[in-house]
Structure formats: structure tokens, C-alpha cells
């Protein structure tokens, strides 16, 4: 581990999450500052050096893909506990419980979102201290500001950073049947397309659908072979990897 790695790590600590392009630019910058040879295609190895030192610190730079456009992201995450208390210095116990309820709502939804109405209703029935509506709204606002959630027209969904960070927690906390996985990349699927066959549970991320169906003249569900009803997003010739660590 050299100074160039330390500088990269410090930057990651400040920013939390970066996309692939930013990560490469940062790697280049760090190598140049410390006069180390910059190897453009060795980003993963570069990060692995850092991760090997972070293991005993219960931290990791983990990668994941955005559900919106398949861009690869890198986030600095805490691997210490699989409890939701990982966010705890900033959020109170009742706020964390509300977040957990929100997560439940999102997991059960078809759209990968939870409406602000439903979330605020949950705030009334918390087991820890009840949260007043304004306090709950304030917390939602903070979650968005801190980069854990995304809000669009009153619907809340998990940010890419949140998914990368919480994936192990989600996989251990929820039952297998409750977990929705994308049939193409096998990652957690929140914002995705669902097969219209009521007997088929196949889900596919929008960008995964684009890649999967792009070259098919007739689009069929990979699970049940029924025609795939959804529009496929415009193609993007990106070579970004879909594999999630």
C-alpha cells in the first residue's frame, strides 16, 4: 500500500461513492501526484490493494451497477455489522425503525419504490417512539440529502449507494422468496421489468433488459418463454460490467 492508495482512500472517504469514470480519473490523479506508474486498466487491482488493508477495519470499496443505466459505481462501505445500525451515529432508533419499514415497503412493492404517504403512515405505528409527521418528513429529507434514498414525485427508492452498501444486509434479512433478483445479472432488483405471466417470477433490470433483448428479433421471457411485454430502453454501447461483488 502506497501513498497513491492512501490518497485514493481518503478521497473515497470524502465522497462515499464514485462512478467508474470518476474512479479512473481519481486513480490517475493519485498515481500522478505520487509519481507512481498509472495503469489504466488496473483499477480493480488498485482497489484490491486498498481493500486488503481495509479488511481488518471492516471497511471495503465495493462495486455495483446503477439500476437506471448500468453505470458501474464504487462505494466505500462498512462491513462491520449486518444490522441496520450501521447508519446509527446519524439516525435515532425510531428513525432507523422507520427506515426499516420503508425498506419493507420497497421490498414488497412491484416498482421498487415506497410512496411518502405509506411511509408517513408507518411512522404512526412504530414500536420504538412514534415519529411525528414533521419528524418523519425531516428524516426522509435527510436520507435523500445524505445520499441513501432518491425521491421522485413523492416516491422513494434506494440510491445506488444504498444498494451497494446494504446488499449483504438485505440478503441476510429477507427471506429468499422475498428477494427479487434480476434474471440477467442476478443482482438485487428494485427498479425492474416483470414478466406479465402471473405464474412467472422473472424480473429484469431496465439496462439488463436492453442488453439481453437487444439482439433478439422476438423477445421472450427467459423464464417462461412468454412474449416480453415491456419497452426496451434505447441501446447504449457501454461495456460496463453488470457483475456485482
Amino acid at each position: 500500500m502506497e501513498d497513491c492508495h492512501r490518497r485514493f482512500l481518503q478521497n473515497m472517504m470524502l465522497r462515499g461513492i464514485v462512478n467508474q469514470q470518476e474512479a479512473k480519473a481519481l486513480q490517475q490523479h493519485c498515481c500522478e501526484v505520487h509519481k507512481q506508474k498509472y495503469e489504466a486498466d488496473k483499477l480493480e487491482e488498485f482497489i484490491e490493494v486498498i481493500n486488503s488493508q481495509l479488511v481488518s477495519m471492516y471497511m471495503k470499496i465495493r462495486s455495483g451497477a446503477s439500476e437506471d443505466d448500468a453505470t458501474q459505481y464504487y462505494a466505500l462501505v462498512n462491513t462491520a455489522n449486518t444490522e441496520i445500525t450501521r447508519m446509527s451515529p446519524d439516525y435515532t432508533a425510531s428513525e432507523l425503525e422507520l427506515f426499516k419499514r420503508t425498506l419493507d415497503l420497497i421490498m414488497h412493492s412491484d416498482s421498487g419504490t415506497a410512496s411518502s404517504t405509506d411511509i408517513l403512515n408507518s411512522a404512526n405505528s412504530l414500536q420504538t417512539r412514534k415519529l411525528a409527521k414533521s419528524a418523519a418528513e425531516g428524516m426522509l429529507h435527510r436520507l435523500v440529502k445524505d445520499g441513501w434514498m432518491v425521491e421522485k414525485r413523492g416516491e422513494y427508492s434506494l440510491s445506488t449507494r444504498c444498494i451497494i452498501d446494504m446488499e449483504p444486509y438485505i440478503r441476510t434479512t429477507y427471506e429468499e422468496e422475498q428477494l427479487k433478483l434480476c434474471s440477467v445479472c442476478h443482482g438485487l432488483a428494485f427498479k425492474c421489468q416483470t414478466c406479465s405471466n402471473p405464474l412467472c417470477t422473472v424480473k429484469v433490470h431496465h439496462p439488463c433488459a436492453e442488453r439481453f433483448f437487444r439482439r433478439m428479433p422476438v423477445r421472450k421471457c427467459p423464464g417462461c418463454s412468454e412474449p416480453w411485454p415491456h419497452d426496451i430502453p434505447e441501446g447504449r454501447p457501454s461495456g460496463s460490467k453488470q457483475r456485482q461483488r
Binding site: 488493508q53 477495519m57 462491520a80
Partner: protein
């Protein structure tokens, strides 16, 4: 490694870490091995993060983290905090006036920059609190009462964190550029600057800016 996490959390808000708190909150029954654990923690910070654990108060055993890596030009994204600028202006006023100033000097300088401690500022908010409370708790400034003054007046000095984080030499060089003079022109300050134990970097708060944190790599604007 819990101590590493503890330091990082405290450092996010630039709050110093007391030995007593470490023993109470982190070490608990391991208090006899404080020295050993501190040694390992310091080593980890240097090796993995590029930070240094510095004891800024040897009597009360108070520690802070400072950045070993110098701020670099051309960083892909600069996260700057406006409070740095304000802090550096105040530090330079104190420095140039010999290390201690009556508070009126600082308030007057700020008023010249349209920052009035009596009013809520658009960017800095409650300026008086930021300068006399936040910066003091973070150990960037010292704000002490002057005895026998009526009404009560205070004076400002550099805090223990500023002493190790902010390079007086860099500050003099910046002021030199601003006034078109060589840093050695201010012989007294130059002597003091060259005697300063080498600070981690010339950027306050470069270890890990948190919410009220300096983070820019430029000394702040001092409009004179």
C-alpha cells in the same frame, strides 16, 4: 480496530479525542494496554489511511488526526468548505499581530469583509458561534477572557489544532503574494514560521471534512 473507527467518527466533526473518553468508551476493561493500542492505532492510520495521530495536549492527553498527504492541485473533485476561508483569515490576523489579538481586531476585519458577527450570515450562519464556539471546540482557535475588562473582552490565539495543521510558512507565502512582498519582509513572523514544527499539511481539516469542515486547498480570501 474499534479505536480506529472511534477516531474517524470524532474526526469527521473535527472534535479532539480525549484519552479519558477512549478508555471509557472503547477500551473499557483493557485500559492497562492503552499505550499498546494507541501505538497500533497510530500505525494503522499511517499505513492504511495516511493520517497521523498527534497529541495536541500532553497534560490532558488530547489527540487529533492530521493528514500526512499534502493537498494536491488538480484533484478531480474539490470539496471546499467556506468556513476554511473564514478561519484562515482569522488565523492570519492573529499571526501577523504577534500571536494574540483582542477580539475587536477580528470582528473589525470580518466586518470589512461584510461578515458581521451580530447578524446571521447567508453562508456562515451564526458567525459569532462559529468563531467563538465551534472553532474553539475544534481547537482551531483559543478564545480567552481578558481579566479586569469592563465590559468583558476576550482575546484570540491559535488553537492547538491550528498549530499542527496550518503551516505558517504557507500562510506567509500567500500573504506575500497578496501584498507583493517577500515573506521574509515580516521578519518576526518569518522566524516563527520557520521554527514551527512541520504541520501535516497547509490545509485545515484535510483529514476528513465533516459538516462544518474546512476542506479547500487554498488559504481563504483575505480582502485587504
Amino acid at each position: 480496530m474499534e479505536l480506529v473507527q472511534y477516531f474517524l467518527i470524532k474526526d469527521e466533526n473535527k472534535l479532539p479525542v480525549r484519552r479519558a473518553d477512549i478508555v471509557k468508551n472503547v477500551l473499557k476493561e483493557y485500559k492497562n494496554v492503552f499505550q499498546e493500542i494507541m501505538k497500533r492505532t497510530s500505525h494503522t492510520f499511517e499505513k492504511v489511511y495516511g493520517f497521523k495521530v498527534v497529541e495536541i495536549d500532553a497534560k490532558n492527553h488530547i489527540y487529533i488526526l492530521i493528514n500526512q498527504l499534502k493537498p494536491a492541485e488538480g484533484a478531480p473533485e474539490r470539496i471546499s468548505n467556506p468556513n476554511t476561508g473564514l478561519l484562515l483569515v482569522i488565523l492570519s490576523v492573529v499571526f501577523m499581530k504577534g500571536g494574540v489579538v483582542r477580539e475587536a481586531s477580528v470582528w473589525n476585519t470580518l466586518k470589512m469583509m461584510q461578515v458581521d458577527p451580530r447578524e446571521n450570515h447567508r453562508v456562515f450562519g451564526d458567525v459569532k458561534k462559529l468563531v467563538t464556539d465551534d472553532f474553539v471546540r475544534q481547537r482551531y482557535l483559543e478564545y480567552t477572557k481578558i481579566p479586569h475588562t469592563e465590559p468583558l473582552e476576550h482575546e484570540f490565539r491559535w488553537g492547538q489544532r491550528a498549530e499542527v495543521e496550518v503551516s505558517k510558512l504557507d500562510m506567509l507565502e500567500f500573504l506575500g503574494q497578496l501584498h507583493g512582498k517577500d515573506p521574509q519582509h515580516w521578519s518576526q513572523q518569518y522566524k516563527e514560521a520557520t521554527n514551527q514544527a512541520s504541520p501535516g499539511s497547509s490545509q485545515p481539516g484535510s483529514s476528513q471534512p465533516g459538516s462544518s469542515q474546512p476542506g479547500s486547498s487554498q488559504p481563504g480570501s483575505s480582502q485587504r
